[in-house]
């Protein structure tokens, strides 16, 4: 296979006795942050394990950084960092010692391993805690250690499997900021999975949607938001004002529906914001709120079934 992106797959298929985890997947992923979205069991983790060369594909091929997953696994693993979705940290070792050891396991000499480990732990925001045994860490701190060990050997690509899993909203935001930083400031390509599209839209330059092992959609995040974007609009003045606004939006070519106290507007592109604002001014209505609706994964699936999005 020729295309040499960060990740390329061609007709990649993984079948288990009872399910097809990946179904003829054709993917091409480049630099920057790519979000891989899918419901439970969509095949996200399976794809990552195949890309690491830990799991053989049933048929089809895959390439990571130009190396074939089938027989160049160790070349790939030298250049890739992996953050598993499950717990993988020993309880009786400190984060510092673990990350140094893992750097050495990636081939860094001892002195360099220590230096990199200290750097990376600082970047993920583990300060004094790094001396304490990991067994006493919170979930958020453990996720940071997992991220640190994935970064410590300065990989070209990191595969992050559900990094926000189990985090409270605050830690989730911190983790997402870190993920974005890895892609933009550290210059490391990122493939990050989640079952929440909204999360990945915030950090991803590119979004890939998997559904039951099939590629449902793959596109740039901006494109994605335009195609499926809806706005939530709220005006002062109760139901009458709301209905007045809704009709005006319809008339202006923006399909709008009542949604509780709000109006849901299909926003075709960025000009929708201006149209809403101008209409509110024209009608003399107080515009309280105008925000992008956070997409739920189901919305994408609904549209996918309707055939309105084409897998690339």
């Amino acid at each position: 296979m020729v295309p040499v992106g960060v990740i390329d797959t061609a007709q990649l298929t993984k079948r288990y006795p009872r399910v097809t985890a990946l179904d003829s997947l054709d993917l091409s992923i480049g630099d920057g942050v790519t979000g891989l979205v899918g419901a439970n069991g969509a095949g996200k983790s399976t794809l990552i394990k195949i890309l690491l060369g830990l799991l053989p594909a049933t048929t089809g091929r895959a390439q990571v950084l130009g190396f074939d997953v089938a027989h160049q696994g160790s070349e790939i693993r030298a250049l890739v960092g992996y953050m598993p979705e499950h717990d993988c940290l020993p309880a009786d070792v400190s984060a510092g010692d673990l990350v140094v050891h893992m750097a050495q396991m990636s081939g860094l000499p001892h002195a360099a391993a220590r230096e990199r480990a200290a750097d990376v732990l600082r970047h993920v925001g583990l300060a004094e805690e790094r001396y304490r045994p990991i067994g006493g860490y919170s979930t958020g701190m453990k996720q940071r250690v997992k991220l640190a060990q994935a970064l410590v050997h300065d990989p070209r690509l990191v595969l992050l499997d559900e990094p926000t899993n189990g985090l409270d909203p605050g830690s989730r935001d911190d983790m997402l900021d870190l993920v974005r930083k890895i892609g933009s400031e550290f210059g490391i390509a990122v493939l990050v999975t989640s079952h929440l599209l909204g999360e990945l839209e915030r950090v991803g330059d590119h979004i890939v949607v998997l559904d039951a092992g099939r590629l449902l959609r793959s596109s740039a995040t901006t494109e994605f938001m335009h195609a499926t974007g809806t706005l939530l609009v709220e005006v002062l003045g109760g139901p009458t004002a709301q209905e007045k606004m809704r009709r005006a939006l319809d008339a202006a070519g923006l399909p709008a529906r009542p949604e509780g106290q709000l109006i849901e507007v299909d926003a075709v592109d960025d000009t929708a914001y201006d149209v809403v604002r101008d209409l509110a001014v024209d009608l003399g209505l107080g515009l309280v709120r105008m925000q992008e609706r956070h997409h739920r994964i189901e919305d994408v699936f609904r549209e996918g079934e309707a055939g309105s999005v084409q897998p690339v």
């Binding site: 830990l54 030298a78 598993p84 993988c88 020993p90 010692d97 220590r114 200290a118």
Partner: protein, 302 residues
Amino acid sequence: MSSPFEERPVGVIHDIGYRPYSGPRLRESAVARSLFITGLRNCFGLGRSGKSKVLPMLLLAIMLLPALILVGVLVQARTALNLDSQILPYSAYPTTLLLIITVFVAAQAPTLISRDLRFRTITLYLARPLRRSTYVLVRVASLTAAVFLLVVSPLLLLYVGGLLAELPVGAETKDFAVAVVGAFLLAAVLAGLAALVSAVTTRRGLAVTAVIVVLLVSYTVVVSVQGIATEFDNDTVAELAGVFSPYTLVDGLQVWLFDTDTSGPAGPTSTWVGLVYLFVTVLVVAGSVAGLLLRYRKVGAV
């Protein structure tokens, strides 16, 4: 182990941005060596929490204590007692202290093997360039080396003591060399078996118990059977029974290979029984490693 962050100034954190790494990346052999040394150190609690040092260090001290006493007696009373060799032969030392060796193996094999499986840290190793088989072989090697060090340290002490007491250098050196080979064989057999048991039973407590049972129960049964068989003058049964416990197996192999005195009720006296001992020893070590490789084949992929 000292913490890697000691020499950094505490309190001031300057955001210097991300620094890429452009230094050397070592090959698999160097990574394997590093894993081997870390594993070996871990077996003695080094590089782990303070309390994980207690048991292995205590066991090492108990292993050394009788040797120290024997050396003391030898040096002080060699002429008075008219001794021209060690009070306790080198080759008999491990069997005499097999309880201590067993506890060490049972406690440290899970440390090295079960821990990575239970915490699933194995995934982090497998996601790195190191091959699965290399990881497994290195783990067994670390454990073998740790057991070897435990067994050989008191022997070395005896040897040095023997030289100080001016025992015949040639004979001492030969006996010591034979015992070193024996210690290595014992370490390989014990480490292989204990690693396999630990890899199958991932829970630490269970693994510790299982290893103790396998090593001690087999020994007790073998020695009893040998005792009874000797009583009934059935030497062949007595000799063959020895292959069913690691301690009597390696002891018997030493008897056959190097003509040492057996430390159990019976050791091989004929060539074919000797060959059986050799065959079983090789089979146990190779079988344990093969079993481990099989056990790890699917690990981390699911």
